[in-house]
């Protein structure tokens, strides 16, 4: 299989993540959509690393992405909890105090 196939897969994953992020109101699911997008990036990185076997830049990059995604999730969940404490919901539509 060529790089193209991986790329197509990654694009689909990225698209699903983006659409999920755009359409869902539940913050948890949005968070998961973002994780999906990050993972699609990992696929791309790994696939390309196969095309450029001279070094392991792509794979190293992917490790860092995984690590950062975890950190991001931690901060995100913390914010989510704070949000839930105040609003008693995790629906993003209710975050409409700040506008205009």
């Amino acid at each position: 299989m060529g790089v193209g196939t991986y790329l197509a897969l990654a694009s689909v994953l990225f698209g699903i993540g983006a659409v999920g992020f755009l359409t869902r109101r539940n913050m948890l699911i949005q968070l998961m959509s973002i994780e999906l997008m990050l993972n699609s990036v990992n696929v791309v990185l790994l696939a390309f690393n196969r095309a450029y076997p001279a070094n392991h830049d792509g794979q190293v990059f992917a490790f860092f992405v995984i690590a950062v995604a975890a950190a991001e999730a931690a901060v995100g969940l913390a914010i989510l909890i704070a949000y839930y404490r105040i609003k008693k919901t995790i629906d993003t539509d209710d975050a409409s105090l700040l506008k205009y």
């Binding site: 755009l22 506008k99 205009y100």
Partner: protein
């Protein structure tokens, strides 16, 4: 021969004394005792008079040494102008006394002094006495500057200065707002005239290169004012002299109360009577005549202007006299009489008898001042304030003998009773008019002469009539306020005025009778005897004029008319008014006509309706529009738009996260769309005859070229974004003509076909040389040439310009270029393609040296 005596500091002192008086009285007068105010006010004028006499004597002594003797005093340089030719024209504060100015100075200081004296009695009790004296002195100073100023701008200081004083003095009793309004009216109307003087002055200096009267007159005599003055689009081109004179005369109509600007003078009677006598009868209002005399060599060169002046003067004389006939108030009658007499003077000027006109100024100063002062004396006697209704007076000859006799003397003079001063001066004017009738070579002046002669005779009849109507109703019959009936009767017991008032009356009354002998006619009527005329000889030195006729029949005609008019007028008044108490005239003429004349022919109302009110309306509209329309357009509308778009834009910030993300996605799509489509932009550079075509490079772009747009690509898809091409004659798509405006540098391109195409007129013809129907040029291609022509002109008027060569057409640099078209197709990394086409005007000819190749292929040569 001319003789100029420089640095006569007396001239300056003549002016400075009254000016000093004005300043002293104005600043500290109100804190000074009344006596001191009088001393300062009257004393300075008296000194001024004495200095004037001394100067005059000196001038008089020079009369044998030179034909034109002048005393001058150069004070300092005021400022300077630079004319287009590069000459710097200094405007000097310089004074000059010649024969004309000398007489005028004497009149101003002499009569003025008497009136100052009179004011001591008349105004002594007024609380604003010091102020009054100050203004009066200021007036004297301004008037003297007007008279003695040796150049137009210096004269203009006085000219406007007297206007200011007139304004201040008319509104002297400012607590009455009507009086103050009258003052304002006087000032504004005068300003309209001053506008004319200002413009006239520019023309004078533009032609003569100097502001000095002597230089201007010399230029006029040298014919420098003869060239035409084309008036924009009208096609009329009067001479420069005419235009200058008409503008100057506009000024004169303002200052000297002629049609159409006379309306302020009757209202000006709101001022205290001495003011009316001094400013609005004896001196200021004659300034216009004085100016005409000053510039008589200029005026006499323009028959058109002279005719306008003569006709205006005659019409004014008639109109004012007709109004005066039916008025009821003393000062009003005298005011219209002044307007009428000024009309006489201008008529004289208009027929070229400047000396005669000025002689009338001279005599008029005496009798009209005397009349006004007499009227003032009457009002003082009966305690009338403002003005006196003659139908409430009557029989005053018993109580006011001095006033009565001096008044009678002046009435006789103004009516032209033989051997009084008015007789001589009026006779001379009629003679001038009569003389024109006999100028058979000049139809314009002949008809003007007829008009003037008949008009003035009629006016003279009316003059004699209304003056004696005034006299009889005031001084004969019964005193109609004696029984204190009727509304607002006057004091039941009139009394003669104090000596400070009667002395001036006596002096002026005598003057009114005798000063005429200075200007005896050249030829005695009937007898044909030649008489020595001191006046015309003296005036000859500084005033031009048409020749005085010597023929006896002309003299007889003029004198006969003058005498007849006087006789009819006085006779009529005698019959209708002597010892009468009512206005018999109301029964003899139709009531509506009477009323119309009484309402001054409703000229004020007419002006209000057609000039003042429309302007006021425009002003009101402008005033309202400024804060609504203009401000809205310039500020509120833009600011409203900005604010509202801000409001709408900030609504985009809805607060919903998904919406925010969606906007981001839209942004992503937009950026992607930019890269999705290929972009191109053809640039052409020329080297010799080859053209290098390039388009910007893009990431992953490929290009193919069709340099001559013939539908076949010259190159294959390639990463290199350029190509080089040599165009052949078949590639030419047409011809473009470029017009480069040499003034503005703006370049325009014009399509050219085999049909005539108009060129943009503004590129070719300068704006100020363009007439409304000017369409400039048309152009078409003819084989290898370009043809230009004026639209509608015959073929032979065409201009031929070989293509490839540059030419000049009016304001434009013209060159023709062959036009080709290049196409490029671009393909980007996403496989999208796009075509771009550009017209290129080649800066060289193709297939040189023959231009035949430029022959257009089709009729429509440039798309």
């Amino acid at each position: 021969m001319q003789l100029e005596v420089p640095q006569q500091s007396l001239l300056l002192l003549i002016i400075l004394f009254p000016l000093g008086g004005a300043i002293i009285n104005g600043l500290i007068g109100r804190y000074m005792p009344k006596g001191l105010v009088t001393v300062v006010g009257v004393g300075t004028v008296a000194v001024s008079f004495a200095l004037a006499v001394a100067s005059f004597i000196e001038l008089y002594g020079l009369r044998h040494e030179a034909e034109q003797a002048t005393l001058t005093y150069h004070f300092y340089e005021w400022f300077s102008l630079k004319l287009p030719a590069g000459d710097v024209v200094p405007v000097n504060v310089r004074f000059m006394m010649d024969s004309l100015g000398g007489i005028m100075t004497l009149v101003v200081t002499g009569v003025g002094g008497l009136i100052h004296l009179y004011s001591v009695g008349y105004m002594g009790e007024d609380e604003g006495y010091a102020r009054f004296m100050s203004f009066l002195n200021l007036f004297m100073a301004s008037m003297l500057i007007l008279v003695l100023g040796s150049s137009v701008p210096v004269m203009f200081i006085g000219w406007e200065g007297v206007g200011l004083c007139s304004y201040l003095l008319i509104g002297f009793w400012y607590e009455n707002r009507d009086y103050a309004s009258a003052g304002r009216k006087a000032f504004v109307v005068n300003r309209i005239g001053d506008f004319g003087v200002l413009i006239g002055m520019f023309i004078l200096v533009g032609v003569a290169g100097s502001f000095e009267f002597t230089d201007i007159n010399a230029a006029a005599m040298g014919g420098q004012f003869r060239p035409d003055f084309p008036i924009w689009v009208s096609g009329v081109a009067p001479s420069l002299a005419t235009v200058a004179c008409v503008f100057l005369f506009l000024g004169c109509t303002g200052k000297s109360a002629q049609i159409p600007l006379y309306v302020w003078l009757p209202d000006a009677m709101a001022g205290p009577t001495p003011v009316s006598a001094l400013i609005h009868a004896a001196t200021m209002v004659t300034a216009g005549v004085y100016l005409c005399c000053r510039l008589s060599p200029l005026f006499i060169t323009s028959d058109v202007a002279m005719s306008i002046i003569a006709v205006t003067g005659t019409l004014t004389a008639l109109l004012a006299a007709s109004i005066a006939v039916v008025q009821r108030e003393m000062k009003k009658i005298l005011a219209y009489s002044t307007v009428s007499q000024l009309g006489f003077m201008f008529a004289a000027v208009g027929v070229g008898f400047f000396a005669a006109g000025f002689f009338h100024v001279f005599t008029h100063a005496f009798f009209k001042a005397c009349l006004f002062l007499g009227a003032g004396s009457v009002m003082h006697a009966v305690h009338a304030h403002g003005d006196a209704d003659i139908f409430k007076l009557g029989g005053l000859k018993k109580d006011l003998p001095i006033t009565r006799w001096t008044f009678l003397a002046s009435c006789l003079a103004i009516a032209g009773f033989p051997l009084t001063s008015g007789f001589f001066s009026k006779d001379e004017i009629l003679l001038g008019a009569a003389a024109q009738i006999y100028r058979r070579d000049d139809p314009l002046m002949t008809s003007v002469g007829w008009f003037t002669l008949i008009g003035l005779s009629l006016a003279a009849v009316m003059t004699a009539f209304y003056m004696f109507r005034l006299y009889f109703l005031t001084f004969t019959g019964d005193y109609r306020s004696a029984d204190q009936s009727g509304d607002h009767p006057y004091d039941a017991h009139p009394h003669e005025s104090p000596p400070s008032m009667s002395i001036p009356l006596i002096v002026l009354g005598i003057g009114a009778l005798v000063v005429g002998f200075l200007g005896l006619p050249h030829v005695m009527p009937i007898t044909g005897m030649h008489l020595p005329s001191w006046w015309s000889e003296w005036m000859h030195a500084s005033v031009a004029g048409r020749p005085v006729p010597e023929e006896l029949h002309i003299v007889n005609l003029a004198s006969g008319l003058a005498f007849g008019a006087m006789a009819i007028g006085i006779g009529g008044a005698w019959v209708l008014y002597r010892n009468k108490n009512t206005d018999a005239l109301t029964e003899t003429i139709p009531a509506r006509l009477y009323q119309l004349a009484f309402d001054k022919w409703r000229v004020d109302e007419l002006y209000a309706a057609i000039i003042v009110n429309p302007i006021k309306k425009i002003a009101t509209v402008a005033g309202r529009a400024d804060m609504t329309f203009v401000d809205a357009l310039m500020t509120r509308l833009p600011s409203f738009n900005v604010r509202e778009s801000g409001r709408i834009l900030s609504r985009m910030q809805s607060g919903v996260v998904q919406m925010y993300a969606a906007v981001m996605v839209v942004g992503v799509v937009a950026v992607l769309a930019w890269f999705w489509t290929p972009h191109s932009h053809i640039e052409a550079t020329f080297e010799d005859t080859s053209v290098e075509l390039t388009t910007p490079q893009g990431i992953g772009y490929e290009y193919r070229w069709d340099a001559n747009s013939d539908g076949e690509f010259d190159t294959q898809w390639d990463r290199v974004p350029g190509t080089t091409f040599e165009y052949a004659r078949d590639d030419i798509r047409g011809v473009a003509v470029f017009l480069s405006n040499v003034q503005s540098g703006v370049e325009r391109r014009v399509r050219v076909t085999e049909d005539w195409t108009p060129l943009p007129v503004e590129s070719v013809v300068p704006a100020d040389l363009r007439s409304p129907h000017d369409t400039g040029f048309e152009v078409r291609v003819d084989g290898q040439d370009l043809l230009f022509r004026r639209p509608g002109a015959r073929t032979k008027g065409e201009i031929r310009l070989p293509m490839g060569r540059d030419g000049r057409l009016g304001l434009a640099r013209v060159f023709a270029r062959p036009v080709v078209e290049a196409t490029v197709e671009v393909r980007n990394a996403f496989g999208n393609t796009r075509r771009a086409t550009k017209e290129i005007a080649l800066p060289f000819s193709v297939d040189a040296p023959s231009h035949a190749s430029l022959m257009p292929m089709t009729r429509e040569v440039v798309r």
